[in-house]
C-alpha cells in the first residue's frame, strides 16, 4: 500500500478518479433519463458540440448539436421533453477510461472513448454511436468538476433515423 500513496502519483490518481466519476455521472444522467441533470454538469459559459470525425478532421465547425451556453443545453432538454416527437428510446453509454492530455492552471484537457447502444421501445438494440469525448474540464467554486467544453466526435458520419437525446 505504501507505494500507492506515493506523493508524486497521488494527485494524478486523484484527478483520474474524479474524471471517471464525472464521466459516470454524465452517462448515468442520460441513460437514466435524468436529462435535467445534464446541463448542470456544464459551466454557464461552455461549449457542447456533437460532430463527426470527418468534420472534426476537416476543421468544419458545424455540429448536429451546438450549444455555447448552459441555457442552450437546458433548451435542448425542454425541446426533448415538450416539443420533439420521436419514438420512445433509451441509451446505454459505455465510457472508456479518460486520458489526461494536459492539466495546467486548473484546466484539464482530457479525452475518453464512448460506445452508445440505443434501445427502442420494441426492444431493438443497435450500436447507435461510437466515438470520443474531447473535454475541457475545470473545477467550479465548490471544487466539483464541470465541463467547460465537451466536443462529441462520432466515428461515423451516418446517423440512424434521428438523434433526439444528447450523446
Amino acid at each position: 500500500m505504501g507505494a500507492m500513496t506515493d506523493r508524486g502519483t497521488a494527485p494524478a490518481a486523484d484527478l483520474a478518479a474524479r474524471l471517471i466519476q464525472l464521466n459516470s455521472e454524465y452517462a448515468r444522467a442520460i441513460d437514466d433519463a435524468r436529462f435535467e441533470a445534464w446541463p448542470e454538469m456544464f459551466f454557464e459559459d461552455c461549449l457542447y458540440m456533437l460532430t463527426t470525425a470527418d468534420n472534426h478532421a476537416a476543421g468544419m465547425p458545424a455540429g448536429l448539436m451546438y450549444a455555447d451556453s448552459r441555457g442552450m443545453l437546458f433548451d435542448r432538454i425542454s425541446a426533448l421533453r415538450e416539443a420533439n416527437i420521436y419514438e420512445r428510446q433509451r441509451y446505454r453509454h459505455i465510457v472508456g477510461l479518460p486520458a489526461v492530455l494536459s492539466a495546467a492552471d486548473g484546466r484539464v484537457r482530457t479525452e475518453a472513448s464512448f460506445l452508445v447502444v440505443r434501445i427502442m421501445r420494441d426492444g431493438r438494440m443497435d450500436v447507435f454511436a461510437t466515438g470520443r469525448y474531447l473535454d475541457l474540464v475545470e473545477a467550479d467554486a465548490d471544487g466539483s468538476l464541470r465541463f467547460r467544453e465537451r466536443v462529441v466526435v462520432c466515428d461515423s458520419n451516418r446517423f440512424d433515423t434521428l438523434v433526439a437525446i444528447p450523446l
Binding site: M60, A62, L64, G71, A79, F159, T161, A164
Partner: protein, 418 residues
C-alpha cells in the same frame, strides 16, 4: 417455377390514370417499381444533384456519389470542365474509385486488374493488353473507347452540380422554370463554403421523404418548435410555388409583423400550441434578414432528389438517395457564405440546431417516413388521401395545401409511365 396450387401472385391494385390526389401504398413497397424508378426516374430526363462546385474546385478534384443507386464519379478535368461517369469498371464491374473524394486525379485505376480511365471516364489502359511473352492479351480489335462506363451530362447552377444520363433533359434553367430558378438564385447568390456534412439513414422509401419535404401542410402541425416560437404558421404570410411539370417546388413563409391570427391554433386545440414554453437562451433564434426580403424560411426541391433549405440563416442542401425499397440516405451539407463575418458564422452554427438529424424542427421528419412505411405494411392496395387544397398542383398562397406533394406524383407518374 410455378406458384403453389391455389396461390397466384396478387395483382397490384390499379392506380387510376392521372390520379395525383392519392398514391397506392405499393409505390413504397414494390421491388419492380423500385427497379423501374432507377431506369425511368433517376436515369431518365432529369437533373440529379451530385455535389457542389466547391467540392471539385481544382483540376483533378473528384467526389464519388450516386445517381439513384448508380455509383458515380464527378471530377474536374484539367480543361476546367466537370465530368461525371459511372463508378463501374467495364472489365468486370468493380468500383473504380473507393474514397469519398480526392484531389490531383489525372486518371482513375481500378484496383482489381488495373484498367485505367481518364478524367472523362474513357477507358485508356488495360494491363497486359498485349499479353505477356506473346501469349494471352486482349483481342486486337477491342475498342477501348467504346468500352467505357456510362458517361453523364453535367451542368452547374449557382455552385450546384447536376448530372443526367439522358440527352433529352432540357437545360437546367428550362428544367426548373423561371419561378424556381429565381428561388435558387435568391439563396445561392454568392460563393458558399461547406461548414459540415452529415448523413442520415432513414427507414423508409425515398418518396416518403420527398413527399415530406414538399408537404407544407405538416410543418406547423408535426413540428412543435415552429408553432411555439412563431417561426412559421399557416396564418402567416407565405405560400408554395410549384413548377409547371409539378416536379419542383419552393415553399416559403414571410415574417409578418404582429401575430393577430395566432389564436387559431389554440382554438383548434392543436397539439403544437403549448403555452409558457420559452427558450432560456433565445440567441438561437437571433436571425438577420440577410436576403433583404423578409422571407424567413424557404424549402425548395428539384426533382427527383435535391433540397435547398433556408431556415432563417441556416443554409443547407440535402441529397436524397434511395438505398433499397424501404431504406434511404439523406446527405446534409451545411453551408455558409465565403464572406461570412465571424458573427454570421456563429449564428449559422447556432441555428444549425434547428435542422439535421438532431434538429429542433426537422428531427421528426427523420421518423415520420418510417411511421408510414411501417403503418402501410399490409396496405399495398390502399391509397393515401391528398386532397388538401383540392386536387390540383398549382402555385398557391396558402400552405394549407398538398399541391406540391401532388405535383411530385404528377411528375413521377409522367416519367414512370404508370
Amino acid at each position: 417455377m410455378t406458384a403453389p396450387a391455389g396461390i397466384s401472385p396478387e395483382p397490384r391494385v390499379a392506380w387510376p390514370p392521372g390520379m395525383v390526389s392519392g398514391a397506392p401504398y405499393w409505390a413504397y413497397q414494390d421491388e419492380a417499381t423500385y427497379r423501374l424508378e432507377q431506369k425511368r426516374v433517376f436515369e431518365g430526363p432529369v437533373w440529379n444533384f451530385v455535389c457542389l462546385e466547391a467540392d471539385v474546385g481544382r483540376p483533378g478534384d473528384y467526389r464519388t456519389t450516386f445517381v439513384g443507386e448508380m455509383p458515380v464519379i464527378v471530377v474536374r478535368g484539367d480543361d476546367g470542365e466537370i465530368y461525371a461517369f459511372e463508378n463501374r469498371c467495364t472489365h468486370r464491374g468493380a468500383l473504380i474509385a473507393l474514397d469519398d473524394g480526392g484531389s490531383g486525379a489525372k486518371d482513375f485505376q481500378c484496383v482489381y486488374h488495373a484498367w485505367t480511365y481518364d478524367q472523362k471516364g474513357t477507358l485508356k489502359g488495360i494491363a497486359f493488353e498485349e499479353g505477356s511473352n506473346g501469349q494471352g492479351g486482349m483481342p486486337r480489335d477491342f475498342d477501348k473507347a467504346k468500352n467505357s462506363p456510362r458517361k453523364l451530362y453535367t451542368t452547374t447552377l449557382c455552385g450546384l452540380v447536376f448530372a443526367s444520363l439522358s440527352d433529352e433533359v432540357p437545360p437546367i434553367e428550362e428544367y426548373l422554370g423561371e419561378a424556381i430558378l429565381g428561388r435558387i438564385e435568391r439563396v445561392l447568390k454568392k460563393p458558399v463554403e461547406v461548414i459540415g456534412r452529415f448523413t442520415q439513414a432513414l427507414p423508409n422509401n425515398w418518396k416518403l421523404y420527398t413527399e415530406n419535404v414538399k408537404d407544407t401542410y405538416h410543418a406547423s402541425l408535426l413540428h412543435l418548435f415552429f408553432g411555439t416560437f412563431r417561426i412559421t404558421r399557416l396564418t402567416q404570410g407565405g405560400g408554395v410555388l410549384v413548377s409547371e411539370d409539378g416536379g419542383h417546388h419552393a415553399s416559403y413563409t414571410i415574417d409578418a409583423p404582429g401575430d393577430a391570427n395566432s389564436q387559431e391554433y389554440a382554438k383548434q386545440g392543436i397539439r403544437s400550441e403549448s403555452k409558457g414554453y420559452r427558450l432560456r437562451d433565445p440567441s438561437l433564434l437571433d436571425s438577420v434578414d440577410e436576403f433583404g426580403d423578409r422571407i424567413q424560411l424557404q424549402i425548395l426541391t428539384v426533382f427527383p432528389g435535391f433540397v435547398l433549405q433556408q431556415i432563417h440563416n441556416c443554409l443547407a442542401v440535402r441529397q436524397i438517395l434511395p438505398k433499397g425499397v424501404g431504406q434511404m440516405e439523406l446527405n446534409w451539407t451545411y453551408l455558409g457564405f465565403a464572406d461570412d463575418t465571424p458573427e454570421m458564422r456563429k449564428r449559422r452554427l447556432k441555428q444549425a440546431n434547428l435542422v439535421g438529424p438532431a434538429g429542433f424542427v426537422s428531427m421528426e421528419d427523420g421518423c415520420v417516413g418510417g411511421f408510414v412505411q411501417r403503418g402501410v405494411a399490409t396496405a399495398g392496395d390502399e391509397f393515401s388521401v391528398m386532397k388538401m387544397g383540392g386536387d390540383g398542383t398549382q402555385t398557391d398562397t396558402t400552405r394549407a395545401t398538398e399541391a406540391s406533394v401532388r405535383g411530385f406524383w404528377k411528375a413521377y407518374r409522367n416519367l414512370m409511365g404508370i
